[in-house]
Amino acid sequence: MTCGAPLDVRDKVSDSGWREAPRLKDMTEFRFSASTCQVEGELVPVAEITLSPQDAVYFEHHLLLWKDESVPLSSLKTAGGMKRTIGGMPHIVTVANGPGRIAFSRDSPGELVVLPLHPGMELDVREHAFLLASHSIQYSFVRIKGLANMLHGGSGMFMDRFITAQYPGLLMLHGNGNVLERTLRPGEKILVEPGGFLYKDSTVNMQAVQMPLKTGFVKHSMYLAEMTGPGRVGIQSMYVHHGAGE
């Protein structure tokens, strides 16, 4: 399995250690299982999947841009439907089976992040950021622990969790703006604007912390997401600002 990243470019790493996700070249094609994915466009990229008969992908149903008439659709059973609905997450996830072609895109300028998952990996993704996943990846959700996260954290009550058991799989996300990634060492912490959080390894602990800001006697509530390593953290440069906890 490949991820389509160009091999003829140098790593772009900022002085503080954030590495830019490689921007996929237009019409880049890569394989997963017996199927292929082609990325088209660079402003709001489209992922066009050519599914082989034994493969399937699942996605939030409103992301479908176009499809061959012959591609069958079914719904994926998701646990915790009521909780997901209350949390604003899609409780309907659609499955497209091969053979045939189907294409997906989200609705804002940004980048597609291709994350091939090896067996035994767990990845948490902010809600409404996942574009599609191959059928070998298990899909669930996690509640962000702590009341503060719910009320002030800004990244919602739930995150999507993607788990690979014994087979590898392909996960594609859409990040708004540019996407950067950093690997935290065990115990290393970083504060992230909750709206900018995109994904993290499940080994990274995330919780909301309040910043002690005051103007004279007026106290301002500003909450950030504190990430504690070890593991990868991905952020996006364009987001809804969640700074005020009024």
Partner: protein, 293 residues
């Protein structure tokens, strides 16, 4: 004799220029074609010039491009008033007479069209990251454009608008609502007496495909940008196979409301589209096909 035809605007053009003088598309690039046959509309290069009549248009910027016009004497363009970015004081502007104002207002279409007459400079832009698409129209050629994609057209292009006849009704007997997933009306532009230039703006990236006679494709209704008049379109409702839901799940939540495009002709889609709004049961609808997997 010049036999070069631009791959994007389909008009006889000049291959010696870096960009097509009629639509601004780069000449010196290879087609970006996906495996399924979609051709990516190449973004108009920054500062590319497009000639029409005695006037020209220059496209500035690449993320939210601006169309800057240098209008010659006795030439004019028209546009919806909200896309005006700046204008020379010398450029004469006036209202364009429009029929069906009430219907246009009720359908959410722009009510006021402005004419800008040369000589003078004027610049227009939409407010989405996306692409400007230049479509030179030959004498007698017509094209259908989805509402709100129109940026501007030269004065010799006739502007009309027709009902799309793509709709469905939800709600109960007392509170019914009619939905128009592709918009209630579509714009139709025709080069009436002589060739003209039509400029559109589409959010995201744009892809073009030529459908053969009888070839069909299912697309999101709001992703359509334009299509040849020869391409037929109707509603298509698709229901995924239910793999088992909890009791609160609504069986309409996961349906797909698509449109089927049937060739022959050219169609263009954009990679940004609106999410479907409504998940209630459909009581009535325009002609549609259904598929339950």
């Amino acid at each position: 004799m010049n036999t070069y035809v631009c791959r994007y605007c389909r008009q006889p053009s000049d291959p010696s220029q870096p960009t097509c003088p009629l639509c601004g598309a780069p000449v010196d690039i290879r087609d970006n074609v996906s495996d399924s046959g979609w051709v990516q509309q190449p973004p108009v290069r920054d500062m590319a010039r497009i000639q029409f009549g005695q006037s020209h248009c220059q496209i500035a910027g690449t993320t939210v491009p601006i169309a800057e016009f240098n209008l010659a004497q006795q030439e004019m363009v028209y546009f919806s008033h909200h896309v005006l970015l700046w204008a020379d004081p010398a450029t004469r502007m006036q209202n364009m007479s429009m029929r069906g104002g009430w219907k246009r207002m009720m359908a959410g279409m722009p009510l006021i069209m402005v004419e800008a007459h040369g000589p003078g400079h004027i610049a227009l832009s939409d407010n989405h990251a996306g692409e400007v698409i230049a479509l030179p129209l030959q004498h007698g050629q017509s094209i259908w454009v989805k509402e709100h994609r129109f940026l501007t057209a030269t004065g010799n292009i006739r502007y009309d608008w027709n009902s799309n006849d793509i709709w469905y009704v939800t709600g109960d007997d007392n509170d019914q609502e009619t939905h128009y997933p592709m918009g209630q009306f579509g714009d139709v532009f025709t080069a009436a007496e002589r060739p003209g230039l039509l400029l559109l703006h589409a959010p995201g990236n744009v892809f073009i495909r030529d459908l053969k006679q009888g070839e069909s494709l299912l697309v999101q209704p709001t992703s359509l940008v334009y299509r040849d008049i020869s391409v037929r379109v109707h509603l298509h409702l698709e229901y995924p196979r239910n793999m088992g839901f909890a009791f609160w799940s609504n069986r309409h939540d996961y349906r797909n409301i698509l449109v089927r495009l049937i060739g022959p002709g050219r169609v263009a889609v954009q990679s940004v589209f609106e999410r479907p709004e409504d998940m209630e049961m459909i009581r009535n609808h325009s002609y549609a096909t259904r598929h339950r997997w």
